[in-house]
Symmetry: D2
Subunit: 401 residues, 4 copies
């Protein structure tokens, strides 16, 4: 887009923003209207109800901010915590790092549990730390469900069990930006207290909506939370949202887009959406194996269904693969960040995606690797993914027609 | 949009969001792309340069947030101030009130100068207060350039002269949300230190971008500013923007829309844009006079060229006019807020607007008033506006063709 | 669009193309797809069924051509007639003239009944001519339902009664391009044999679809029709349409647009659509009367509900009004054609239109007339239309909410 | 589109309609306007000039019809011929067959030269036939440049040489629907007299424009052409086009789309467009070879750069591959037509296409073939295409950046 004429479609395989389906782009193409009209709540009120289905919650309360996901991080913390409050947070990638950094900027004291990049949150260590916190000074546990930088998914249910096993009242804060609406996420069942997501990943929208889901337990702590907030104050939303309104002018195209996104998700069925992401991820992993390469994620239990971080062999720079892919084949791959810079490239396989799109991207990754000298067998990754894809969810969809 | 089938176009005459031109809606209809690609800066870097032209600044620095204008309010204060800092702020409408409220939530101490609603900032009182502040405890003066709630424009140049006359170093914070890109606004010439705007008014975009322009003097105070901030931290932008990037995923449609908005503004010419708003406002005021009604703005010097707040006669409720206009004629008017609730209705005449659109709205306001029993002469306001419109800027455009 | 920057919306009041609602423009914004896929009939087959509802027919058969309405004229004749066949056709405007001309180009012999422009088809003269045609050499009667050039609607039901009264087997060919989906049109009840329409008027679409409805009686004459045809041959459509396909690549955006157009028409209800057009036309006529001007249509019985042709006073040129309106006020009016050139200007009031849009146009016409020296009282037409509009269909819609 | 929710993009590899670039879809999303306004020619006049560049002509005259390409076939013949005129036409596929059929429906006498499907026009046989036509009764030679049904490109320059060698005055009629703007086509240099194309192939637009280019020699024969025509009469266009207007309402979105299509083609450069199509076609052919399959086209000299028709092995039905690809993998392939029904499937590789898109399609074809039992080696075709693609035009584009 922002460059010169390049024929055909860009293959967008960064882990967000993801491809916005034509239906959603169309739905966003709306004239402006009065966001304080008597008709407006017909649009807005169902959005809150439907977002709850995406979070898989009955009792949670949803807040939608005109912001990126980073703003939702901020909102989740400032509305429930006071400066000096202690939080426990495992760190195992760039996004868990950044969230911790944001918490600290708000005066929160974060006890960091360093985990090797390529692994995720350790329920055992969390339980241990909470058990040791006899006086319950730790007010919350912050976990990134899906670490986008390394392609690692942590087990949130296990984290909840760890908190409960420790008999600890800490709130459970979960970043679900690159998991929610792509990977199974159960707000109620897992006892999540604050879940954060953004519009530009599994929701298949442009960036611009930061979305938080808040448990009743967390709501009860709002009154005591002394962190400074204004733009991100839940209270202004809770005062206006029930009528269908917002404390400041909302971005209408994104709300109409969200309406269509939710319709699309429910048409496919959340279960099917999760299964499709698993299916596409398995195909990607088959390709990686066929290439003779490894994932950044250390073990299958960490494998993410939305993004695969692929280690390049010693002596090669992942950035060269990415640059080649982008400039020569119109394939956008994700880079290694921070301590992983140069060591890997990432394929985002989330959102509005199907098998042939992914096969095109795998073919492009193959060519790019060969171009920079990494000796993978031409067609090998594609073939492995193809053979995986020929089974699976597509088959079931077809059967259901 | 959000309601059932209503034939034809809605006449959107709230003072924001404004009509988004078809060209901009088209420009926003883009596939997603990698916001970290080597091509992306080709889009983003010129946006900053061109926004400076809109602010009429050479030395100011522009920051663009994925937020509403409220977020830009927050950013302007938290990046330059510390809790406990004193600010001086005249209050004469709902938006000056809300900005003061936001400042206080961030721990700032605001000295409020109450002005009658329908008037604006008093340079004399500001000078007086600053002169009295021998120890320079007042760190800034916050002025809403165009108070959207009452249709009042304050004289920012005079405020600057007042500050200078008092020999006071306070920064000048100006809310230009409903003036910038519609009413002449001169960042450098007027010595503004922090100017705030949003995308959904004169910029003719949906809401979703909060934009701040910062003077060199203000930038120099950033290091000492201790207000809590993270999402709205200028520093993260200053680290990434020069390369053409953002600290978090930007909303691509809005950036592409901003590109087109700027192109449209420069095609028409900022001077012509201002003249057109003046012309349309004058027509509106001619209609109000013909109706035998008065504006909320007390004197011509306060008259806003972007919004007219029209007092309804005693015994009538402005909300009834608005409800009638919306439900019966598809005309969206602005309501009276706070102490003006029920006493007036507002016509926003800003953004992508021409004479016939406004005449349709005036005709609709006329009918709505008659429907609720306000005895205005049918066609009287329209006729007065027509006779005004037959002279003026359109004529000049035609001559220039 | 095709010119330079002009702020705000163009007021499009030519009698076609009409304003395309945002919903339809959105619906047309589709990726291409295989028009021979197994899914495609899910889109196409209901279009035929729903178009029959618009024609108000049970037994008629609909054919949709990728062409303008002119192509549909051609199809209606060449599929049912042979060179040398006699047709009877009243002529009272530019479009009845052009259709006759087209028939003659195909070797048909057209007996023209000249009627004064400003009147329409004379059932009496038609009956007389048919009675005189003892040997039934006249094979069809061609009538333009709504003559767009003069704003005259003929009484098709009366023409049918005339044909029947004469006991004559001639087919009834009706051009409904500027009436169908705006003015009541009853294919079955009126015994129409071939009805022609296009996409760019009451259907609220861009031009590009020529649509014909064919009676069973007309279908029975196809086999003997020797006029040359290939692109417009019904037979190719009748072979492919039942499966949901076309003899050549259809224009997908227009088919998706037609889908949405039909949805919109049925949401509003055809009866309500007709009533709205009557309501808007009455308002326009009230304005004309208030201006002290007259319509081209000689008597109320000829008044068209989709277009008003307004005579300018002696000594003035309608083209000057139109030029002024377009270049100065962004108002597109229709011109006088052929013998009416310069004598009138036309306001198309059909399609996706409401009261305020029309009031804006009336205000613009008023100003344009005054600008060229026609002395109408400012606001007079607007006021008359307003007072008409305050009663009527809007009221009913509101009551129904 | 027309079916239920299917995640991700459909891979559209029928040889038309082709993918419409997002830029063109955006450009088509326009409000309606008066097609008789004084501004309109600013849009239309350059379209004619720029289409001439696409035809590679200086002296040719372009006519644009609101129709499919079939309509342009009809226009080319009816405007230059009289019933009973003799035409010479090689037939070697479904589209050459249909054009001959259309000519006959207009009363033209077509002398058919049957060529084996998989081959194309024989300049030798054409020369022979023309030499034998001493009295010059043959008025034209009709050749399909690129036979879409079999993936065969004929040598038009050689046909011209054959006509000249025979010293015969017959006009040269060329169907360039699936070649123009994709494969080199030189109207002037090759002495083409009537060239026909449509909007939905190399022009990357939806169907709906039939475009003809006419030589001065052909124009000179118009006066004597007695074939019936009205909608497709060049004369009506020649009367109105020079001013920038049309004889009937044009489809505005398609004209705006054409404007953008031409801009895109010239940005890439026609030479580069042709080279890209050759490059993609070569990759496809490498895949076919790697699969151990053969093309319908008998020899390399017939190979089409816009569509490859791939023979399925004995015992298999091409329709099964196509059905599987469409329903299971969202891949739209072209079917075998008429005598080739079931014997092949077709991959259209034209329009707005790049390497990864094609690799995705090849991967999908591979899986579909395997699914129906055709034993191709997984990844084999993809690998062969990849290795081809790693060289070539992309490399050059990159170098030029």
């Amino acid at each position: 887009m922002s460059g010169a004429r390049r024929p055909g479609r860009n293959f967008l395989f960064v882990p967000g923003p993801t491809n916005v389906p034509a239906r959603i782009l169309r739905a966003m193409h709306v004239p402006m209207e009065d966001h304080r009209s008597s008709d407006f709540p017909k649009l807005t009120l169902p959005l809150y109800e439907d977002m709850k289905k995406v979070f898989q919650t009955k009792d949670g309360q949803v807040v939608i901010f005109p912001s990126s996901g980073t703003g939702a991080w901020e909102a989740s913390l400032t509305n429930t915590r006071s400066p000096g409050d202690k939080l426990l947070a495992p760190r195992f990638g760039q996004f868990s790092h950044l969230w911790i950094d944001l918490a600290r900027r708000h005066g929160l004291e974060v006890i960091v549990q360093e985990e090797e990049w390529g692994t995720g949150a350790s329920p055992e260590r969390i339980e241990e730390a909470l058990r040791a916190d006899k006086t319950h000074e730790i007010k919350g546990v912050m976990v990134v469900h899906n670490e986008t930088a390394t392609g690692v998914t942590s087990d949130i249910a296990a984290v909840r069990r760890a908190i409960d096993a420790a008999g600890h009242p800490a709130l459970l804060y979960v970043d679900g930006v690159s998991s929610i609406a792509s990977i199974d996420f159960r707000f109620d069942e897992w006892g999540v207290d604050l879940a954060i997501t953004g519009s530009q990943k599994g929701m298949m929208l442009p960036a611009g909506l930061g979305i938080v889901c808040v448990s009743q337990k967390a709501l009860a702590q709002m009154a005591d939370a002394k962190c400074t907030k204004a733009y991100f104050d839940f209270a202004d939303h809770f005062r206006t949202n029930p009528g269908g309104y917002f404390p400041y002018t909302p971005s209408l195209p994104l709300l109409y887009g969200l309406r269509e996104s939710l319709a699309i998700l429910f048409e496919e069925g959340l279960e099917n959406v999760f299964a499709r992401h698993r299916h596409l991820a398995n195909g990607t992993r088959a390709a990686v194996e066929a290439w003779g390469l490894t994932l950044c994620a250390k073990e299958p239990k960490w494998y993410s269904d939305t993004v695969s971080a692929i280690m390049v062999p010693e002596g090669f720079n992942g950035a060269d693969v990415i640059d080649r892919a982008y400039r020569r084949y119109d394939l956008a791959l994700g880079a290694g960040l921070s301590q992983m810079a140069g060591k890997l490239f990432r394929i985002g396989h989330l959102g509005d995606l199907n098998e042939l799109m992914l096969l095109g991207a795998l073919a492009g990754a193959e060519m790019s690797m060969r171009d920079v000298g990494i000796e993978v067998v031409p067609g090998s990754g594609v073939a492995a993914a193809q053979e995986h894809f020929r089974e699976g969810v597509g088959e079931q969809r077809l059967a259901a027609e």
